[in-house]
């Protein structure tokens, strides 16, 4: 489930937690995909929307750095919800 070593940024703190949670967190958040992609793109994300979709359905492995950014995007969006 976590073959992100190659091309990734090594294993920064908490990244195992991030990658494990991303797909599940996305399902729980009931977030529209294009909204997440747009935010993720805005913080420097590299993969396209379709690949993001595939990743979130456990159908594609992506570099660890991207997993981190997706996770960061979800965290920031969730925080943005609060007033």
């Amino acid at each position: 489930m976590f073959p992100y070593e190659a091309g990734g940024s090594g294993q920064p703190d908490g990244s195992a937690h991030h990658s494990k949670g991303a797909a599940q967190r996305f399902r729980e958040a009931q977030l529209p995909l294009e909204k997440l992609w747009m935010y993720y793109y805005g913080i420097g994300g590299d993969i396209d929307e379709m690949s993001l979709d595939a990743f979130l359905h456990d159908a594609l492995d992506i570099p660890a750095a991207q997993v981190e950014l997706i996770s960061a995007a979800m965290t920031e969006m969730a925080e943005g919800d609060a007033p």
Binding site: G7, P12, L31, P32, G42, A65, E76, G80, D81
Partner: protein, 255 residues
């Protein structure tokens, strides 16, 4: 939109304003004041068109959000109360009409067995109900509910009038939803571009300073963001500010 920290030292203040994460069209119907106004107008017109002296017709609009019905617009307080009553029961003629996607007429609530709600509505002075779903082409789900104090309160003419209203309103509403959705997507895109400019710039700066790869630079930035619990974009802005003192990085594109 591009308001950064005043000084790089005060990182833990001022969260970037962020528009609600959820943008399903159902949410738009409920959250946009324009759309609520539009639906209210629809309810008022339907109500005044069908009311006759001494026999008022109350009209309300219910929208499904996350599969839960919410009364969003009405011609008067009574219609809203009746809609909410039905939504509280979780089923009734209007919710059934929504489900079967066809207009539904109950000309006499007396002895109506299909919904427990019927008895409660009757107790509130309702004798007949007409529910017409608004066809939003799968974009959202809404139904126009009409309540009359008379049995057989809706004639064949009334029904075709309301169906006419509903189909015109649906067409306009689809357009409004589409426009609202597009303009929201456009706003998201502009803020994504603005944010990305700042972040890419900061990444380049970190790469130069640490002689590291882009991935490593991202790693440094996300780490700083999560340990300090500050948004990535704000950390990036503070990186730039600490190098050049620039507090405002603008991205220009055709409006």
């Amino acid at each position: 939109m591009t308001s950064y920290e005043e000084s790089p030292g005060s990182l833990d203040t001022g969260r970037q304003e962020f528009h609600g994460a959820e943008t399903t069209l159902q949410n738009l119907v409920l959250d946009s004041q324009d759309i609520v106004d539009f639906l209210t107008e629809l309810a008022v017109i339907a109500s005044s068109r069908l009311s006759t002296p001494g026999y008022p017709v109350h009209a309300g609009v219910t929208v499904l959000r996350h599969k839960r019905p919410e009364a969003v617009a009405s011609s008067d307080a009574q219609a809203k109360a009746l809609d909410e009553l039905q939504n509280g029961f979780g089923d009734g003629p209007c919710l059934t009409a929504l489900r079967i996607k066809r207009p539904l007429l109950v000309s006499d609530l007396t002895g109506e067995q299909r919904w427990p709600y019927a008895k409660a509505a009757k107790a509130n002075g309702v004798a007949s109900i007409l529910a017409v779903p608004l066809d939003l082409a799968g974009e959202a789900e809404a139904v126009l509910n009409l309540y009359s104090g008379r049995t057989h309160g809706f004639s064949a003419d009334d029904i075709s009038t309301v169906e006419g209203f509903a189909s015109q309103a649906s067409a306009s509403l689809r357009l409004v939803l589409r426009i609202t959705q597009l303009s929201e997507a456009r706003n998201d895109l502009s803020s994504a571009l603005e944010s990305r400019t700042v972040i890419d710039m900061a990444i380049g700066a970190i790469m130069a300073e640490n002689r590291c790869s882009r991935d490593t630079a991202f790693s440094i930035l996300t780490k700083a963001s999560s340990t300090r619990n500050v948004k990535l974009r704000e950390v990036a802005a503070s990186v730039i500010a600490s190098i050049s003192g620039e507090k405002q990085i603008n991205t220009f594109f055709d409006e």
